[in-house]
């Protein structure tokens, strides 16, 4: 019973991290049809910025985190302008290569600035305490992750369903030529959703540092993880990413608890099963 609840809670919070980082990638891939292997780089940039702000600059966590996220968004939007706008028109293969190149540059930049050690993020002391849930204790940090993940999922849902931007975004994902011909400014939509996705990745990178330690090779080390979430959830499907992230998070955590020697093997087998049966992912459009 306690193992089961541990698996569920830990798996769920792991899933929330995966969701935050991957959801932007899903939108980029669904909307711009870009295979962006560099997406994990935004999580790294956010994590590295938070590391610098909290440890070196000595700024408090609750100010440092939004600052780090904003900084990442600014960098992402600049990169969208300079690099990605051309990438949209590349072939699949060129996209893969170009974004691998960008990944290398991000890794090299972080490596140059901070070296290749793990970049610790100083969290408030309260994060280290635990609260008693009755059946088990839960570290506050993990609770923060879960709450943040759920809030973001709810916020994205609200944005997509209720706001003008959300409607335009959905229209553009469905059919970008049609959206453009309806007078929707797709260039702006692209830039905004790219920036939003990068910002969420940065937040996920910071909050998830406990599970996925921030270091220079982060984007390469976890690239596959994020891509798997997107592929399993279905390109462009935010709900798909949400459920895929939770499912994969729980499967991976369960495997670590029950058969630790097999590592991530079940994670990949689950993915292969889904993609073999549903090549477009769980909630992907046919």
């Amino acid at each position: 019973m306690s193992v089961l609840s541990s698996i569920l809670v830990d798996g769920f919070s792991y899933g929330m991290i995966l969701f935050m980082i991957s959801v932007g990638l899903s939108v980029t891939m669904g909307l711009m049809r870009v295979i962006n292997l560099a997406h994990g780089g935004f999580a790294l940039l956010g994590g590295a910025a938070a590391h610098w702000l909290t440890t070196i600059a000595g700024i408090g966590y609750f100010i440092a985190v939004p600052l780090a996220v904003l900084l990442t968004v600014a960098i992402a939007i600049a990169m969208e302008r300079v690099l990605y706008r051309k990438i949209y028109y590349f072939s699949e293969l060129q996209q893969v290569l170009a974004t691998i190149g960008i990944t290398f540059l991000i890794i090299a930049s972080v490596n140059y600035s901070f070296g290749s050690t793990i970049l610790a993020i100083k969290v408030p002391d309260v994060f280290r305490t635990s609260i008693d849930l009755g059946f088990r204790t839960l570290p506050v940090h993990r609770l923060v992750v879960i709450v943040a993940g759920l809030l973001i999922a709810a916020g994205l849902y609200f944005m997509l369903e209720r706001t003008r931007f959300g409607i335009q975004l959905r229209a553009a994902v469905d059919n970008r030529d049609m959206a453009a011909s309806l007078g929707i400014n797709t260039v702006r939509i692209y830039a905004l959703s790219f920036g939003l996705g990068a910002g969420l990745a940065a937040l996920g990178g910071i909050l998830g540092a406990e599970l996925l330690p921030v270091e220079a090779y982060y984007p390469l080390r976890y690239m596959v993880l994020f891509l798997v979430v997107v592929a399993v959830g279905g390109l462009g499907s935010i709900a798909g990413s949400f459920f895929a992230a939770i499912a994969l998070g729980i499967i991976d955590t369960a495997a670590r608890y029950i058969v630790p020697e097999y590592g991530t093997i079940f994670f990949f087998i689950a993915m292969m099963l889904v993609l073999t049966l549903r090549p477009r992912g769980l909630l992907g459009r046919e």
Binding site: L97, T103, A108, M223, V224, T264, M271, M272, L275, P279
Partner: protein, 327 residues
Amino acid sequence: MTKSISTSRVGNNAAMGLALDVLLISAGIAAYFLFPDNLGFLTRVLIMIIMVLSLDLVLGYAGIATLGHAALFGTGAYAAGLFAVYISGDPLLGLGVGAAAGGVIAFFSGLILMRAHGLTLLMLSIAVAQVLQEIVNKERPVTGGSDGLQGIDMDPVLGIFAFDFFGRTGYWYALIVLFVVFFFLKIVVASPFGLAARGIQESAPRMRAIGTPVYWRLVGIYTLAGAVAGIAGALSAQVTELVSLDALGFTLSAEALIMLILGGLGRLYGAFFGTIIFMTVHHTAASIDPFNWLFVIGALVLLVVYFVPEGLLGLPEKLRKHLRWGG
């Protein structure tokens, strides 16, 4: 255009190909004498060329975009390594084992992969490599896990040429295997089977319409490429007498792809130029600044993709077209 003109052009191409082959072989021999202190690095280049040739068969000819080619290389490497440790240290037998293992794993993973396209295919191909890596990591008692497979001790090649500390035998061994593989692949890509592979890349629906069982043809090509990549992996295991988990890693798959695109797809020769340039830049940058060479590699990749997407060997063709349209 009359027929005689066109045949003479084909003749020119054949003559140029022959000249290029002679040049490559001479360069391979000359490098041994020019860089006697770098034979280890040069041997790694030769092995990587075989790996990239295999990828060219899959991607350049059949148009199958994968990011998991290390699965085939690594399987060959571990198979040959284990064969050497537990059964026999004979190099040529080991190469055969590596080729067979690469082919077998390519055949079975190909049964799944060749049904997929685009991103799904990329993901599945990555997953195959990761699962294999995880299995090897887990079977530590047999494979050495993350410490790598050690204790490989090779017998002399053909019972005559012993592997030496300076890597001289290793270099000649790899060079000869490379050119055997290369000329074999030249024959294959010029064969009806090779033409069919290009046909599938150009238009799979049309190939179906002319009666080709496209799926099985793709599985066949992938299996062949698996054997070739397996040979590369086996060579690497035998020459370095070590196999590490990196042999199945994503970085190897990505780098092979970069080298191929850098050189140019669907020509076989692209594998030579792309690999030599990439690995030389990599080697030089890493020895000048062991911490920041990734800047150079990242910039190189972006330069290629943005400015010479058809690869270095595509440049003359591009220039010719420009001139024709311009004039």
